[in-house]
Amino acid sequence: MSSISVTPDPFTLVPYDVAEIRSLVEDAAALVEVSPGVDIALIVDEELFAPLTGHMSDVVDGRIVLWISGANFEDNRRPLHFSAEQARLDLAVMMLRAKDRLSEDFADAPPDAQLSRGERTAWDTYAAGRARRLGLPVRQPRQLYDFRLQHGFTDVADAAFTRCWETDHLTWAAVREICKETGAVDRGKSKVPVDLLRQKK
Protein backbone atom coordinates (compact mmCIF):
# COMPACT_ATOMS: atom_id res chain seq x y z
CA MET A 1 0.00 0.00 0.00
CA SER A 2 1.46 3.32 -1.06
CA SER A 3 1.37 6.51 0.98
CA ILE A 4 -0.26 9.62 -0.42
CA SER A 5 0.50 13.09 0.86
CA VAL A 6 -1.21 16.33 -0.10
CA THR A 7 0.33 19.75 0.54
CA PRO A 8 -0.82 22.16 1.90
CA ASP A 9 -2.77 20.54 4.69
CA PRO A 10 -5.07 22.31 5.34
CA PHE A 11 -5.69 24.80 2.53
CA THR A 12 -5.95 28.35 3.81
CA LEU A 13 -6.74 30.50 0.75
CA VAL A 14 -9.22 28.25 -1.05
CA PRO A 15 -11.84 25.96 0.48
CA TYR A 16 -10.34 22.76 -0.94
CA ASP A 17 -10.64 19.62 1.13
CA VAL A 18 -7.44 17.59 1.62
CA ALA A 19 -9.29 14.31 2.28
CA GLU A 20 -11.30 14.70 -0.93
CA ILE A 21 -8.17 15.44 -2.96
CA ARG A 22 -6.29 12.54 -1.39
CA SER A 23 -9.14 10.24 -2.31
CA LEU A 24 -9.10 11.52 -5.91
CA VAL A 25 -5.34 10.93 -6.11
CA GLU A 26 -5.89 7.38 -4.88
CA ASP A 27 -8.60 6.84 -7.51
CA ALA A 28 -6.40 8.23 -10.29
CA ALA A 29 -3.50 5.97 -9.27
CA ALA A 30 -5.82 2.97 -9.31
CA LEU A 31 -7.38 3.95 -12.63
CA VAL A 32 -4.07 4.17 -14.47
CA GLU A 33 -2.70 1.17 -12.57
CA VAL A 34 0.28 2.70 -10.81
CA SER A 35 2.16 -0.12 -9.11
CA PRO A 36 1.11 -0.60 -5.50
CA GLY A 37 3.84 0.48 -3.12
CA VAL A 38 4.83 3.62 -5.04
CA ASP A 39 4.50 6.64 -2.76
CA ILE A 40 2.80 9.74 -4.13
CA ALA A 41 3.29 13.35 -3.04
CA LEU A 42 0.98 16.01 -4.44
CA ILE A 43 1.74 19.70 -4.00
CA VAL A 44 -1.06 22.12 -4.83
CA ASP A 45 -0.20 25.81 -5.25
CA GLU A 46 -3.30 27.37 -3.79
CA GLU A 47 -2.21 30.92 -4.62
CA LEU A 48 -2.66 30.41 -8.36
CA PHE A 49 -6.07 31.08 -9.89
CA ALA A 50 -7.61 30.67 -13.33
CA PRO A 51 -6.35 30.91 -16.03
CA LEU A 52 -2.89 30.30 -14.51
CA THR A 53 -3.06 26.55 -14.93
CA GLY A 54 -0.25 24.02 -15.10
CA HIS A 55 0.96 20.74 -13.66
CA MET A 56 4.10 18.65 -13.45
CA SER A 57 4.80 14.96 -12.89
CA ASP A 58 8.20 13.76 -11.79
CA VAL A 59 9.66 10.69 -10.17
CA VAL A 60 12.20 11.30 -7.42
CA ASP A 61 13.94 8.30 -5.83
CA GLY A 62 11.16 6.01 -6.95
CA ARG A 63 8.49 8.29 -5.49
CA ILE A 64 5.91 10.10 -7.64
CA VAL A 65 6.08 13.86 -7.05
CA LEU A 66 3.23 15.86 -8.52
CA TRP A 67 2.81 19.63 -8.60
CA ILE A 68 -0.34 21.37 -9.76
CA SER A 69 -1.70 24.90 -9.86
CA GLY A 70 -4.76 25.42 -7.70
CA ALA A 71 -6.36 26.88 -10.83
CA ASN A 72 -6.55 23.39 -12.33
CA PHE A 73 -8.88 22.33 -9.54
CA GLU A 74 -10.99 25.48 -9.71
CA ASP A 75 -14.47 25.48 -11.20
CA ASN A 76 -14.29 27.98 -14.08
CA ARG A 77 -17.94 28.81 -13.59
CA ARG A 78 -17.65 29.32 -9.83
CA PRO A 79 -14.37 30.97 -8.84
CA LEU A 80 -12.80 29.63 -5.59
CA HIS A 81 -14.89 26.45 -5.76
CA PHE A 82 -13.33 23.02 -6.18
CA SER A 83 -14.25 21.03 -9.27
CA ALA A 84 -13.93 17.30 -8.60
CA GLU A 85 -14.56 16.53 -12.27
CA GLN A 86 -11.71 18.76 -13.40
CA ALA A 87 -9.42 17.41 -10.66
CA ARG A 88 -10.20 13.81 -11.62
CA LEU A 89 -9.21 14.51 -15.21
CA ASP A 90 -5.99 16.39 -14.50
CA LEU A 91 -4.87 13.91 -11.86
CA ALA A 92 -5.36 11.03 -14.32
CA VAL A 93 -3.24 12.79 -16.96
CA MET A 94 -0.56 13.58 -14.37
CA MET A 95 -0.58 10.04 -13.07
CA LEU A 96 -0.32 8.56 -16.57
CA ARG A 97 2.79 10.67 -17.20
CA ALA A 98 4.24 9.68 -13.83
CA LYS A 99 3.63 6.05 -14.69
CA ASP A 100 5.42 6.62 -18.02
CA ARG A 101 8.40 7.90 -16.06
CA LEU A 102 8.46 4.72 -14.02
CA SER A 103 8.77 2.68 -17.21
CA GLU A 104 11.80 2.06 -19.42
CA ASP A 105 10.10 3.91 -22.27
CA PHE A 106 10.63 7.28 -20.60
CA ALA A 107 13.69 6.47 -18.51
CA ASP A 108 15.77 9.04 -20.42
CA ALA A 109 13.25 11.87 -20.18
CA PRO A 110 14.52 14.87 -18.21
CA PRO A 111 12.47 16.33 -15.32
CA ASP A 112 9.39 18.33 -16.32
CA ALA A 113 11.13 21.64 -15.60
CA GLN A 114 13.65 20.82 -18.32
CA LEU A 115 11.22 19.71 -21.02
CA SER A 116 10.65 21.98 -23.99
CA ARG A 117 7.09 23.14 -24.57
CA GLY A 118 6.88 21.00 -27.69
CA GLU A 119 8.03 17.86 -25.86
CA ARG A 120 5.69 18.52 -23.02
CA THR A 121 2.64 19.07 -25.23
CA ALA A 122 3.30 15.92 -27.24
CA TRP A 123 3.60 13.90 -24.03
CA ASP A 124 0.49 15.52 -22.57
CA THR A 125 -1.43 14.59 -25.73
CA TYR A 126 -0.32 10.98 -25.40
CA ALA A 127 -1.56 11.00 -21.79
CA ALA A 128 -4.81 12.84 -22.57
CA GLY A 129 -5.71 10.39 -25.36
CA ARG A 130 -5.24 7.47 -22.97
CA ALA A 131 -7.24 9.24 -20.27
CA ARG A 132 -10.10 9.60 -22.72
CA ARG A 133 -9.99 5.90 -23.52
CA LEU A 134 -10.13 5.23 -19.79
CA GLY A 135 -13.51 6.97 -19.81
CA LEU A 136 -12.58 10.49 -18.71
CA PRO A 137 -14.23 13.47 -20.44
CA VAL A 138 -11.15 14.83 -22.21
CA ARG A 139 -11.96 17.31 -24.97
CA GLN A 140 -9.96 16.58 -28.08
CA PRO A 141 -10.25 20.08 -29.67
CA ARG A 142 -8.79 21.65 -26.54
CA GLN A 143 -5.80 19.34 -26.59
CA LEU A 144 -5.40 19.85 -30.34
CA TYR A 145 -5.28 23.63 -29.93
CA ASP A 146 -2.62 23.37 -27.20
CA PHE A 147 -0.63 20.99 -29.43
CA ARG A 148 -0.89 23.35 -32.42
CA LEU A 149 0.31 26.31 -30.35
CA GLN A 150 3.60 24.52 -29.80
CA HIS A 151 3.90 22.42 -32.97
CA GLY A 152 2.29 24.68 -35.55
CA PHE A 153 -1.01 24.96 -37.36
CA THR A 154 0.04 22.62 -40.17
CA ASP A 155 -1.00 19.26 -41.64
CA VAL A 156 2.27 17.77 -40.39
CA ALA A 157 1.52 18.90 -36.84
CA ASP A 158 -2.07 17.63 -37.04
CA ALA A 159 -0.87 14.21 -38.24
CA ALA A 160 1.61 14.10 -35.35
CA PHE A 161 -1.15 15.06 -32.96
CA THR A 162 -3.33 12.18 -34.17
CA ARG A 163 -0.49 9.73 -33.62
CA CYS A 164 0.10 10.96 -30.05
CA TRP A 165 -3.63 11.02 -29.33
CA GLU A 166 -4.51 7.59 -30.66
CA THR A 167 -1.57 5.48 -29.57
CA ASP A 168 -1.34 3.34 -26.47
CA HIS A 169 2.40 3.12 -26.67
CA LEU A 170 4.85 5.96 -27.15
CA THR A 171 8.43 6.37 -26.00
CA TRP A 172 10.53 9.38 -25.03
CA ALA A 173 12.56 8.87 -28.22
CA ALA A 174 9.32 9.02 -30.25
CA VAL A 175 8.31 12.27 -28.52
CA ARG A 176 11.63 13.81 -29.53
CA GLU A 177 11.21 12.53 -33.07
CA ILE A 178 7.78 14.17 -33.28
CA CYS A 179 9.29 17.50 -32.22
CA LYS A 180 11.84 17.23 -35.03
CA GLU A 181 9.13 16.34 -37.53
CA THR A 182 6.89 19.30 -36.69
CA GLY A 183 9.76 21.74 -36.31
CA ALA A 184 8.98 22.37 -32.62
CA VAL A 185 12.58 21.54 -31.85
CA ASP A 186 13.74 24.49 -34.00
CA ARG A 187 11.73 27.07 -32.11
CA GLY A 188 13.91 29.59 -30.35
CA LYS A 189 14.48 29.14 -26.67
CA SER A 190 12.02 31.20 -24.67
CA LYS A 191 13.09 33.60 -21.94
CA VAL A 192 10.09 32.42 -19.93
CA PRO A 193 10.97 29.24 -17.98
CA VAL A 194 8.49 26.38 -18.42
CA ASP A 195 8.20 25.99 -14.66
CA LEU A 196 7.75 29.71 -13.98
CA LEU A 197 4.41 29.24 -12.22
CA ARG A 198 6.07 26.79 -9.86
CA GLN A 199 8.72 29.28 -8.84
CA LYS A 200 7.98 31.34 -5.78
CA LYS A 201 10.04 34.22 -4.47
Binding site: L13, V14, E46, E47, L48, F49, A50, P51, L52, T53, G54, S69, G70, A71, N76, R77, R78, P79, L80, R117, R139, Q140, P141, R142, Q143, L144, Y145, D146, R148, L149, Q150, G152, F153, S190, K191, V192, V194, L196, L197, Q199, K200, K201
Partner: protein, 279 residues
Protein backbone atom coordinates in the same frame (compact mmCIF):
# COMPACT_ATOMS: atom_id res chain seq x y z
CA UNK B 1 -41.45 46.53 -24.63
CA UNK B 2 -39.55 47.94 -21.70
CA UNK B 3 -37.12 50.79 -22.26
CA UNK B 4 -33.81 51.30 -20.42
CA UNK B 5 -33.01 47.70 -19.53
CA UNK B 6 -30.78 47.17 -16.47
CA UNK B 7 -27.76 44.85 -16.52
CA UNK B 8 -29.56 42.40 -14.27
CA UNK B 9 -32.32 41.96 -16.84
CA UNK B 10 -30.17 40.76 -19.72
CA UNK B 11 -31.55 37.53 -21.16
CA UNK B 12 -29.27 34.49 -20.94
CA UNK B 13 -29.91 30.76 -21.02
CA UNK B 14 -28.67 28.45 -18.30
CA UNK B 15 -25.28 27.92 -19.92
CA UNK B 16 -24.23 31.38 -18.80
CA UNK B 17 -22.99 32.12 -15.30
CA UNK B 18 -22.62 35.72 -14.23
CA UNK B 19 -19.86 37.00 -12.02
CA UNK B 20 -19.21 40.36 -10.44
CA UNK B 21 -16.01 42.27 -10.99
CA UNK B 22 -15.69 42.55 -7.18
CA UNK B 23 -15.38 38.76 -6.93
CA UNK B 24 -11.99 38.94 -8.57
CA UNK B 25 -10.94 42.16 -6.81
CA UNK B 26 -11.61 40.67 -3.36
CA UNK B 27 -10.24 37.22 -4.16
CA UNK B 28 -7.75 36.51 -1.32
CA UNK B 29 -5.27 35.03 -3.81
CA UNK B 30 -4.98 38.27 -5.77
CA UNK B 31 -2.57 39.93 -3.36
CA UNK B 32 -0.31 36.86 -3.29
CA UNK B 33 -0.21 36.55 -7.06
CA UNK B 34 0.57 40.24 -7.47
CA UNK B 35 3.78 39.64 -5.54
CA UNK B 36 4.87 36.76 -7.76
CA UNK B 37 6.43 36.59 -11.18
CA UNK B 38 3.89 34.71 -13.29
CA UNK B 39 5.49 35.89 -16.52
CA UNK B 40 4.47 38.63 -18.91
CA UNK B 41 0.71 39.06 -18.99
CA UNK B 42 0.90 39.98 -22.67
CA UNK B 43 -0.35 37.08 -24.78
CA UNK B 44 2.35 34.78 -26.16
CA UNK B 45 2.70 31.09 -27.04
CA UNK B 46 5.60 30.67 -24.62
CA UNK B 47 3.77 32.21 -21.67
CA UNK B 48 2.63 29.91 -18.86
CA UNK B 49 -0.85 28.51 -19.58
CA UNK B 50 -0.91 30.15 -23.04
CA UNK B 51 -3.75 27.95 -24.29
CA UNK B 52 -5.92 28.44 -21.24
CA UNK B 53 -5.31 32.19 -21.18
CA UNK B 54 -6.30 32.55 -24.82
CA UNK B 55 -9.41 30.40 -24.38
CA UNK B 56 -10.49 32.42 -21.37
CA UNK B 57 -9.95 35.72 -23.21
CA UNK B 58 -11.77 34.41 -26.28
CA UNK B 59 -14.78 33.59 -24.14
CA UNK B 60 -14.59 37.08 -22.64
CA UNK B 61 -14.61 38.50 -26.17
CA UNK B 62 -17.62 36.38 -27.06
CA UNK B 63 -19.73 37.62 -24.12
CA UNK B 64 -18.46 41.14 -24.80
CA UNK B 65 -19.83 40.87 -28.34
CA UNK B 66 -23.21 39.80 -27.01
CA UNK B 67 -23.27 42.84 -24.72
CA UNK B 68 -22.14 45.16 -27.52
CA UNK B 69 -25.01 43.82 -29.62
CA UNK B 70 -27.40 44.43 -26.74
CA UNK B 71 -26.01 47.93 -26.17
CA UNK B 72 -26.36 49.00 -29.81
CA UNK B 73 -29.77 47.35 -30.01
CA UNK B 74 -31.01 49.22 -26.95
CA UNK B 75 -29.93 52.53 -28.47
CA UNK B 76 -32.11 51.80 -31.52
CA UNK B 77 -35.09 51.34 -29.23
CA UNK B 78 -34.66 53.36 -26.03
CA UNK B 79 -34.81 56.87 -27.52
CA UNK B 80 -37.36 58.71 -29.65
CA UNK B 81 -36.24 60.45 -32.85
CA UNK B 82 -35.81 63.81 -31.11
CA UNK B 83 -33.28 62.43 -28.65
CA UNK B 84 -31.53 60.20 -31.19
CA UNK B 85 -31.97 60.93 -34.93
CA UNK B 86 -33.23 58.14 -37.16
CA UNK B 87 -29.90 58.09 -39.06
CA UNK B 88 -28.08 57.38 -35.79
CA UNK B 89 -30.43 54.46 -35.18
CA UNK B 90 -29.71 53.16 -38.67
CA UNK B 91 -26.01 53.22 -37.82
CA UNK B 92 -26.73 51.35 -34.58
CA UNK B 93 -28.82 48.80 -36.51
CA UNK B 94 -25.89 48.26 -38.85
CA UNK B 95 -23.66 47.85 -35.78
CA UNK B 96 -26.07 45.22 -34.42
CA UNK B 97 -25.59 43.29 -37.64
CA UNK B 98 -21.80 43.48 -37.21
CA UNK B 99 -21.93 42.45 -33.54
CA UNK B 100 -24.20 39.50 -34.36
CA UNK B 101 -21.66 38.34 -36.90
CA UNK B 102 -18.90 38.82 -34.34
CA UNK B 103 -20.83 36.65 -31.85
CA UNK B 104 -21.00 33.87 -34.44
CA UNK B 105 -17.33 34.24 -35.35
CA UNK B 106 -16.40 34.18 -31.65
CA UNK B 107 -18.37 30.97 -31.11
CA UNK B 108 -16.54 29.38 -34.05
CA UNK B 109 -13.21 30.61 -32.66
CA UNK B 110 -14.15 29.09 -29.31
CA UNK B 111 -14.71 25.77 -31.09
CA UNK B 112 -11.36 26.18 -32.82
CA UNK B 113 -9.63 26.72 -29.49
CA UNK B 114 -11.48 23.94 -27.71
CA UNK B 115 -13.80 25.86 -25.45
CA UNK B 116 -17.57 25.85 -25.01
CA UNK B 117 -20.22 28.52 -24.52
CA UNK B 118 -20.57 29.21 -20.79
CA UNK B 119 -17.35 27.44 -19.85
CA UNK B 120 -16.18 30.64 -18.16
CA UNK B 121 -18.15 33.24 -16.26
CA UNK B 122 -19.61 36.40 -17.74
CA UNK B 123 -19.14 39.84 -16.29
CA UNK B 124 -21.66 42.38 -17.58
CA UNK B 125 -19.71 45.54 -16.81
CA UNK B 126 -19.40 46.23 -20.55
CA UNK B 127 -23.17 46.51 -20.84
CA UNK B 128 -23.18 48.90 -17.89
CA UNK B 129 -21.58 51.44 -20.22
CA UNK B 130 -24.66 51.12 -22.43
CA UNK B 131 -27.15 52.03 -19.72
CA UNK B 132 -26.73 55.80 -19.68
CA UNK B 133 -30.09 57.58 -20.24
CA UNK B 134 -28.46 60.34 -22.35
CA UNK B 135 -27.93 59.00 -25.89
CA UNK B 136 -24.79 61.08 -26.39
CA UNK B 137 -23.20 59.82 -23.19
CA UNK B 138 -24.25 56.28 -24.04
CA UNK B 139 -22.75 56.64 -27.50
CA UNK B 140 -19.47 57.75 -25.95
CA UNK B 141 -19.54 54.87 -23.48
CA UNK B 142 -20.34 52.25 -26.09
CA UNK B 143 -18.91 53.46 -29.39
CA UNK B 144 -15.79 55.18 -28.16
CA UNK B 145 -14.87 53.48 -24.86
CA UNK B 146 -16.22 49.95 -25.31
CA UNK B 147 -15.54 49.72 -29.04
CA UNK B 148 -12.15 51.35 -28.45
CA UNK B 149 -11.40 48.56 -26.00
CA UNK B 150 -12.56 46.09 -28.65
CA UNK B 151 -9.93 47.53 -31.02
CA UNK B 152 -7.23 46.91 -28.39
CA UNK B 153 -8.49 43.40 -27.61
CA UNK B 154 -8.78 42.32 -31.24
CA UNK B 155 -5.37 43.71 -32.09
CA UNK B 156 -3.86 41.80 -29.14
CA UNK B 157 -5.57 38.57 -30.23
CA UNK B 158 -4.59 39.15 -33.87
CA UNK B 159 -0.96 39.55 -32.78
CA UNK B 160 -1.23 36.35 -30.74
CA UNK B 161 -2.64 34.52 -33.79
CA UNK B 162 0.17 35.90 -35.89
CA UNK B 163 2.82 34.82 -33.39
CA UNK B 164 1.31 31.33 -33.16
CA UNK B 165 1.04 31.10 -36.98
CA UNK B 166 -2.67 30.46 -36.47
CA UNK B 167 -4.27 31.77 -39.70
CA UNK B 168 -7.83 31.20 -38.48
CA UNK B 169 -7.44 33.35 -35.38
CA UNK B 170 -5.39 36.02 -37.11
CA UNK B 171 -7.79 36.53 -40.04
CA UNK B 172 -10.95 36.41 -37.94
CA UNK B 173 -9.59 39.00 -35.52
CA UNK B 174 -8.42 41.18 -38.40
CA UNK B 175 -11.87 41.24 -39.97
CA UNK B 176 -13.59 42.01 -36.72
CA UNK B 177 -11.01 44.68 -35.98
CA UNK B 178 -11.97 46.47 -39.21
CA UNK B 179 -15.61 46.61 -38.06
CA UNK B 180 -14.64 48.00 -34.66
CA UNK B 181 -12.73 50.84 -36.29
CA UNK B 182 -15.94 51.75 -38.13
CA UNK B 183 -17.97 51.60 -34.93
CA UNK B 184 -15.64 54.02 -33.18
CA UNK B 185 -15.76 56.37 -36.14
CA UNK B 186 -19.56 56.32 -36.04
CA UNK B 187 -19.43 57.19 -32.34
CA UNK B 188 -17.02 60.06 -32.92
CA UNK B 189 -19.10 61.43 -35.83
CA UNK B 190 -22.36 61.37 -33.88
CA UNK B 191 -20.74 62.88 -30.81
CA UNK B 192 -19.57 65.80 -32.94
CA UNK B 193 -22.92 66.24 -34.70
CA UNK B 194 -25.14 65.95 -31.63
CA UNK B 195 -23.08 68.31 -29.50
CA UNK B 196 -22.20 70.85 -32.17
CA UNK B 197 -24.06 73.60 -30.33
CA UNK B 198 -23.70 72.22 -26.81
CA UNK B 199 -20.04 72.12 -25.67
CA UNK B 200 -21.06 71.37 -22.07
CA UNK B 201 -22.87 68.23 -23.12
CA UNK B 202 -19.89 67.21 -25.25
CA UNK B 203 -17.57 67.63 -22.25
CA UNK B 204 -19.93 65.60 -20.04
CA UNK B 205 -19.95 62.86 -22.69
CA UNK B 206 -16.16 62.83 -22.93
CA UNK B 207 -15.91 62.77 -19.14
CA UNK B 208 -18.25 59.77 -19.09
CA UNK B 209 -16.03 58.11 -21.70
CA UNK B 210 -12.96 58.70 -19.52
CA UNK B 211 -14.76 57.11 -16.57
CA UNK B 212 -15.66 54.06 -18.64
CA UNK B 213 -12.13 53.87 -20.04
CA UNK B 214 -10.75 53.93 -16.49
CA UNK B 215 -12.99 50.98 -15.59
CA UNK B 216 -11.78 49.07 -18.66
CA UNK B 217 -8.17 49.68 -17.61
CA UNK B 218 -8.90 48.18 -14.23
CA UNK B 219 -6.03 46.40 -12.54
CA UNK B 220 -3.65 46.94 -15.45
CA UNK B 221 -5.82 44.94 -17.87
CA UNK B 222 -4.91 47.33 -20.69
CA UNK B 223 -1.72 49.26 -21.29
CA UNK B 224 1.48 49.41 -23.29
CA UNK B 225 3.77 47.16 -21.25
CA UNK B 226 4.32 43.40 -21.12
CA UNK B 227 2.50 43.31 -17.79
CA UNK B 228 -0.76 44.32 -19.53
CA UNK B 229 -2.65 41.44 -21.19
CA UNK B 230 -4.32 43.82 -23.63
CA UNK B 231 -2.13 46.22 -25.55
CA UNK B 232 -3.22 49.71 -26.51
CA UNK B 233 -3.52 49.63 -30.32
CA UNK B 234 -2.46 53.18 -31.14
CA UNK B 235 -2.32 52.76 -34.93
CA UNK B 236 -5.80 51.32 -35.22
CA UNK B 237 -7.15 53.86 -32.75
CA UNK B 238 -5.72 56.59 -34.98
CA UNK B 239 -7.51 55.05 -37.97
CA UNK B 240 -10.70 55.12 -35.92
CA UNK B 241 -10.35 58.85 -35.39
CA UNK B 242 -8.80 59.07 -31.92
CA UNK B 243 -6.29 61.90 -31.77
CA UNK B 244 -2.74 61.39 -30.56
CA UNK B 245 -3.62 63.45 -27.47
CA UNK B 246 -6.50 61.09 -26.72
CA UNK B 247 -4.23 58.07 -27.15
CA UNK B 248 -1.59 59.62 -24.87
CA UNK B 249 -4.19 60.46 -22.29
CA UNK B 250 -5.59 56.91 -22.38
CA UNK B 251 -2.08 55.47 -22.08
CA UNK B 252 -1.47 57.67 -19.03
CA UNK B 253 -4.78 56.56 -17.54
CA UNK B 254 -3.76 52.95 -18.12
CA UNK B 255 -0.39 53.51 -16.41
CA UNK B 256 -2.18 55.03 -13.42
CA UNK B 257 -4.54 52.04 -13.23
CA UNK B 258 -1.62 49.60 -13.35
CA UNK B 259 0.16 51.55 -10.61
CA UNK B 260 -3.00 51.71 -8.50
CA UNK B 261 -3.41 47.95 -8.85
CA UNK B 262 0.18 47.45 -7.75
CA UNK B 263 -0.29 49.68 -4.70
CA UNK B 264 -3.52 47.91 -3.78
CA UNK B 265 -1.78 44.55 -4.05
CA UNK B 266 1.07 45.74 -1.83
CA UNK B 267 -1.37 47.07 0.74
CA UNK B 268 -3.33 43.83 0.69
CA UNK B 269 -0.14 41.78 1.07
CA UNK B 270 0.94 43.91 4.03
CA UNK B 271 -2.48 43.38 5.60
CA UNK B 272 -2.25 39.62 5.03
CA UNK B 273 1.24 39.51 6.54
CA UNK B 274 0.14 41.54 9.56
CA UNK B 275 -2.84 39.27 10.03
CA UNK B 276 -0.63 36.15 9.79
CA UNK B 277 1.76 37.55 12.41
CA UNK B 278 -1.13 38.39 14.69
CA UNK B 279 -2.65 34.91 14.51
Amino acid sequence: MKKMLAESELARDDRFVRTKIEDRIFDPRGARIAQRDTGPAKMGVDRPAAGERSRSLMHGIFVGEIQALEGAGRTCYDFDDDAAPFQLKLDMARQCWDESRHCEISVKLGDHMGTEIGEYTESTFLFAAACNPDPVLRLCGVNRALEGLAIDVFKSMKDFGNEADDPVLEFCEDWMLADEVTHVKMGSDWLRRLTETDPDRRERALEFQRTVDAIFNLGGFRGEDDENPIQLARDFRRLAGFTEDENDSLAELARQSTEQARQMAEAATAALDASAQGS
